[in-house]
Amino acid sequence: MSNSDFYREVILDHYKNPRSYGVLDDADARAEGQNPLCGDEVTVTVKFGADGETIDQVGFEGRGCAISQAATSMLTELVQGKTATEVATLPKEELLAEIGIPLTPIRLKCAILGLGVLKVALHRAKGTPLPDEWQGLDFA
């Protein structure tokens, strides 16, 4: 795959101009996590709407590769207006479809870092279910 196929315009755009960038003050949910493929980290914060369930605002910050940061930026657009329960069970395939390029198992971990951290944040705030691979880890 050529570099321009892998680093599609949309990915470079989200990387250089990440949406919802900046952690929210007084967030209702928050978590921070690292990629086992070392060198990526994200912090994700969420504010719910009046019903306490629907995601009203997402804010994230991070340091990492184009895939991890762009994917998290795309994620923030994807989950707008969804409930905590819906996001907790959001299949990673939906996010990967947005990213739109085939990813090796190693780069996959970059792409789903933000999603995992968001799910941890929701789990800690609302007790929503957590995927197996995110159980039992030590999170800030």
């Binding site: 892998f6 470079l12 070392c38 060198g39 340091r63 780069r107």
Partner: protein, 404 residues
Amino acid sequence: MLDARKSRADFPILEQLVHGKPLAYLDSAASAQKPRQVIEAMSTFYETSYANVHRGVYELAERATQALEDAREKVRGFVNAPSAREVIFVRNATEALNLVAYSWGLNNLGPGDVVLVTELEHHSNFVPWQFAARRTGADFRLIPLDNQGELRLDELDSFGNVKVVATGLVSNALGTINDAAAIAAWAHERGAIYVCDAAQAAPHVRIDVQALGADFVAVSGHKMCGPSGIGFLWGRSELLLAMEPFLMGGHMIRKVTTGETTWGELPAKFEAGTSPMAEAVGLGAAIDYLEGIGLEAIEQHEHALAAYALEQLGEITGVTLYGPPPDRRAGIVSFNVDGVHPHDVAQVLDADGIAIRAGHHCCQPLMGRLGVAATNRASFYLYTISEEIDRLAAGVRRARDLFA
């Protein structure tokens, strides 16, 4: 003078294309490729001489035992150890260092003692000592780095009641070469032991454990053209004799009763269970291969490549280089590209068939000290040629421009 092009012919894996381009393998610090000679030595062993060792009376078992002990003697000679009894086969340097931290550390440290490692250490020579300190109540301290990535040995006297100093000989992240002999001497003056992580050194520079003055030296076979799954710990016999075993079970015992068990002699005491026999044979063949080329020739070859790489990469706008100048480092270059994360640099290089490492290189404390999340690392070995460095430089420019 080493002829890298000639050596490359010994390495079948280097002939392949990756994404249609010739493979440029610049990640030997992570693991080295294997020459045919090593692969064939192991296949031959499996095909002709394989049996479990040390116990069988039959012909095949005798041959297998001889092959294992021949490999041990080769290791002894490779590092100039006084005795083969002091050469303990383990899985890798990580296991060797854990062995010392558990068997020596947990029984010789206590409150008021200081365990001293460095900011440069690979996690395998950091985490086991941190654990041993926590378990025993000892203090865990680090020799700091200067801004060129070299150890501040002038700080040594500030650390108090040091009982063990553990450092690498060559840094896997920056290529820094530490003055291990000086550290060993300082440690001994204070009644401390010195543990040397030689995983990144043994493949590339001549090691003489007697000249080094270390008490323990850890080596990984897979980094020196040997197979995965074998490494060794060299240790002073008086220390090994006094230590409790690490792993226990078959072979490392003398007598086992319900009441008690007594330990076997060296090196068996530290080699529980079935040995990695074919792997040891492979390691022996790797030693023969490296000695055939000459460690000094390998070291010179890599110094030249490191100097060339630092020069080529140094000319690229936006590249930051880390670590000491070429005359004080091994064949390892860590760098970053402004605005491009190492994973992305490595991804772009991969599209051109170039393999480098991107990440924290199992050195998170060092990354913290450098103020970065990760770096790119290119590392060289006896089969690396300068064209590969030219391709690396071109790829780095491409990555920079893609993300501009």
